[in-house]
């Protein structure tokens, strides 16, 4: 809603407004980040008593995040679940809901995927991988839809209920892992290893995987559909893109199909031999996996859902002004449940990816702790609830998360300092007046557009 106001309000001078827009989009978040790190430095300085520790800590952080062996790829590995979780939180915010329970939905998604993933070893990846992903998403969706339903029907606030659902999810996963889903052959308490066919492919393994024609087919379908989707979006955004009377190969109706088909065919026939001949990812210990591609596509998909579809419009309307939405005939209860379900499905996917792509044992161990939950709220707000902003801020938080261990190792500064910095980022991003007050920046004319994101108990 804030974006709409900004663009429509300053159409008279496009050059200036674009610069202003860029400044508004990146200026405050960057200042917020900078200030948060400044406070973090202050804290380290005070508690350790030496300025040197501050530099060492931050040097370790940057080194761990980007420059140590596999640093960048581990950062991306940490980024992937952040993207999904923050997208989930953002869908909630856009619909006027504060889904603080993504952590619980993450757990339920993970345990659902772990269950479906280990059911059988005989299904081909073509079926098993999508099935496991769907199970994870469904688990998260159901888990989030419960508080959504309670909010819609009884008015019980989703903040308390999603947090309660978090604790229930922790206990439930513990129960399932140590009980019915426990791997009888493993010494540690964990679920059975998922079928190799349900695993998310690491980039290293792609050439080998593609040798199986069924896997190549899966890749062809995935890439083909993505190509179709992106072409579709690009074509529609151009002038005349929604013109249904045009005919011919380059018409808005046919072009996506042609490009999608070509990409699918090329993937199926050319990619397997090509990757066999040359492939940049030769490190067998590199954990980076195709979830990265999924994350980017999901971000585009969420943007499309929120900005280009009727459902997205009604979700945003309910979020911006429930009374107006009700007056316009939008079913608020159904929208709340739908928004929570979508939000939870995204969070569940994050958990699924953790099991199918990241965990070393390709399973769910007992007492596995993600700690992604609160971070993803900060990521969503830092990215201003915009899917592409979220991609950037998730990368940033992934880097911090990944660098934290190296920081602790090199400087002895506890990695909890990262949590403090992240909390401060959230504070400064959520409250632009604080940053403006600190740096004596004048508020923009449409400061009122920075409306509250959530609503009190009554809403």
């Amino acid at each position: 809603m804030a974006n709409a106001v900004t663009t429509s309000g300053s159409e008279d001078s496009p050059q200036k407004s674009r610069l202003q827009g860029l400044g508004q989009m990146f200026g405050l978040p960057l200042l917020a980040l900078f200030t948060a790190f400044l406070f973090g430095a202050l804290l380290i300085w005070i508690t350790s008593g030496s300025l040197n520790t501050v530099f060492e800590a931050y040097r370790g952080l940057i080194r761990g995040a980007f420059f140590k062996e596999r640093g960048l790829s581990e950062t991306l590995v940490a980024t992937i679940p952040y993207v999904f979780l923050a997208l989930g939180v953002a869908v909630g915010f856009k619909s006027g809901l504060f889904n603080i329970g993504v952590e619980g939905q993450f757990y339920i998604g993970a345990v659902s995927a772990a269950w479906v993933g280990q059911l059988t070893n005989s299904l081909p990846a073509f079926i098993h991988l999508p099935l496991a992903l769907a199970a994870g998403a469904l688990g998260g969706a159901v888990w989030a839809a419960i508080p959504g339903y309670l909010k819609a029907k009884t008015g019980a606030h989703e903040v308390i209920n999603t947090i309660m659902m978090n604790y229930i999810a922790f206990r439930l996963t513990e129960l399932l892992i140590s009980g019915p889903l426990r791997d009888p052959n493993a010494s540690a308490v964990q679920t059975s290893r998922v079928s190799p066919n349900a695993e998310l492919w690491t980039l290293y393994a792609i050439p080998e995987r593609l040798q199986n024609p069924l896997n190549a087919l899966l890749a062809a379908v995935a890439l083909g559909v993505s190509a179709w989707f992106i072409t579709h979006l690009i074509v529609r955004s151009r002038p005349g893109g929604t013109d249904t009377t045009r005919r011919g190969l380059r018409s808005p109706q046919t072009l996506p199909w042609i490009i999608g088909g070509v990409v699918a065919l090329l993937t199926f026939f050319l990619l397997p031999p090509l990757t066999q001949a040359w492939w940049p990812f030769q490190d067998p210990y590199d954990r980076l996996h195709i979830g990265l591609f999924m994350a980017v596509m999901t971000a585009i998909g969420v943007w499309w859902l929120l900005q280009q579809t009727t459902l997205g419009f009604s979700l945003r309307t309910v979020g911006a002004n429930p009374s107006a939405a009700k007056y316009a005939g939008i079913n608020i209860s159904r929208n709340i449940v739908t928004a929570m379900a979508i939000s939870g499905a995204l969070a569940g996917l994050a958990g699924t990816i953790e099991v199918l792509g990241v965990s070393i044992c390709r399973c769910l161990p007992l007492f596995f702790s993600s700690g992604y939950g609160f971070d993803s709220i900060a990521i969503a707000l830092l990215g201003k609830n915009n899917p592409f902003g979220i991609l950037i801020s998730a990368f940033l938080f992934g880097a911090m998360r990944n660098g934290a261990d190296t920081m602790e190792l090199y400087s002895g500064v506890s990695k909890y300092v990262i949590t403090i910095i992240q909390a401060l980022v959230l504070l400064f991003v959520a409250a632009p007046p604080i940053i403006r007050w600190m740096y004596r920046i004048k508020p923009p004319e449409d400061a009122a557009a920075e409306a509250p994101l959530t609503r009190g108990w009554g809403g």
Binding site: F98, G179, T419, L426, L427, G456
Partner: protein, 364 residues
């Protein structure tokens, strides 16, 4: 529920909402619960077991009641505070640290006995100040900067998680000196000799008594003093209160700060009464359960206490069950209080009305 159906249900059910009907229902539920408990554990819950369960109920209800009171006082003035969890965690950490190190410093000159007493009370005060610091942040961010109060509360929670974890790792995890431990039980002379009631109500540690006193004081001062009237007015209709000369901002600051001190007492319970260790994240959602108790109690101190007692009962019954029935996986009873919270919220929410200006920043 629409207005029409609400009036209708009011006309048809003459008995609903009368306090003695509710009390009767409560008593019936208690007896029924006791029977159910006997069935689950196989008929072993005798008088001693009941006594233990009830006394445990009051103990567990203490931090929940403090949290609920904190939320209640904040919200009566129109500020939603979901950072109570973080405030309690911070207080728990500060109490633990101050208790340890002040005991260390005073042990020599005062002797272990006196030093223990002094350092525990000192720690409680310090913990309240720790919670107050976070409360000040929350109040400034949400009153002066008019930020979304739910997000501001989340910041408080996150910040507290980070700060307590950081302090724990840097100073409290290794090489810590021996501390004076938690408060000893303080039986009240005379009263503690009464059978059952005496051991449940009057053989507790000090924070339980403080909680009961704070509840009574809060109920009285919210509804029978000038301060309470002003606070409630600011929470219901700040514009009107402002017109009549009440300083809205100052009233809200005061309410949040008083609430924070109370949350600090709740945090002190964790490390000064319950256990003699601090763990990161040890508050385990009790702050949020406190908010649910507050809603259950319809934003009234006595009601909030009742809500806290119900959650305490749920939690202590699960403890009893897990003692008698080790074959039931411990996770099942552990889930119970959270499910109870959700059920209570769903059942009560439609009928309880929050203060009208709850969560809305005031623009002068």
């Amino acid at each position: 529920m629409t207005t029409a159906t609400r009036t209708l249900s009011n006309q048809t059910s003459r008995w609903r909402g009368r306090w003695w009907v509710n009390a009767l229902f409560g008593l019936f539920a208690l007896v029924f619960g006791w029977f159910l408990l006997n069935v689950i554990i196989g008929g072993q819950c005798d008088a001693k077991c009941v006594e233990g369960t009830l006394s445990q109920t009051l103990r567990v209800a203490t931090p929940i009641a403090f949290a609920a009171l904190c939320g209640l006082i904040c919200e009566r003035s129109g500020i939603v505070n979901i950072g109570i969890e973080g405030q309690m965690l911070m207080a728990a950490m500060v109490c633990y640290g101050v208790n340890l190190f002040s005991f260390q410093a005073m042990q020599g000159p005062l002797g272990p006995e006196t030093a223990g007493q002094v350092s525990r009370w000192l720690a409680m005060g310090a913990g309240m100040l720790g919670a107050l610091a976070l409360g000040m942040l929350h109040s400034v961010v949400s009153i002066k900067f008019k930020t979304d109060q739910i997000i501001s509360g989340t910041v408080v929670n996150m910040l507290s998680l980070g700060i307590t974890g950081y302090m724990y790792r840097q100073f409290l995890a290794e090489n810590i000196p021996a501390g004076p431990g938690t408060f000893p039980t303080m039986p009240i002379p005379g009263l503690s000799q009464i059978p059952i009631i005496g051991s449940v109500l009057f053989q507790q540690k000090p924070l339980v008594y403080i909680m009961l006193i704070v509840v009574i004081v809060a109920q009285f001062s919210l509804f029978y003093t000038r301060w309470g009237l002003r606070t409630r007015a600011v929470g219901e209709h700040p514009r009107a209160a402002d017109t009549l000369g009440v300083n809205v901002y100052r009233t809200r600051y005061t309410a949040v700060w008083i609430g924070s001190l109370i949350a600090g007492l709740g945090g002190a319970w964790f490390t000064l009464e319950a256990v003699d260790v601090f763990n990161p994240g040890m508050t385990n959602g009790l702050g949020f359960i406190g908010l649910a108790a507050m809603i259950f109690g319809k934003w009234m101190p006595f009601g909030a206490l009742l809500g806290a007692l119900i959650f305490g009962l749920g939690s202590s019954v699960t403890t009893t069950i897990s003692i008698f029935r080790p074959d039931i996986p411990s996770q099942i009873p552990q889930m119970l209080p959270y499910i109870l919270t959700m059920a209570v919220l769903a059942g009560v929410m439609g009928r309880a009305t929050p203060p009208a200006a709850d969560g809305q920043p005031y623009e002068k």
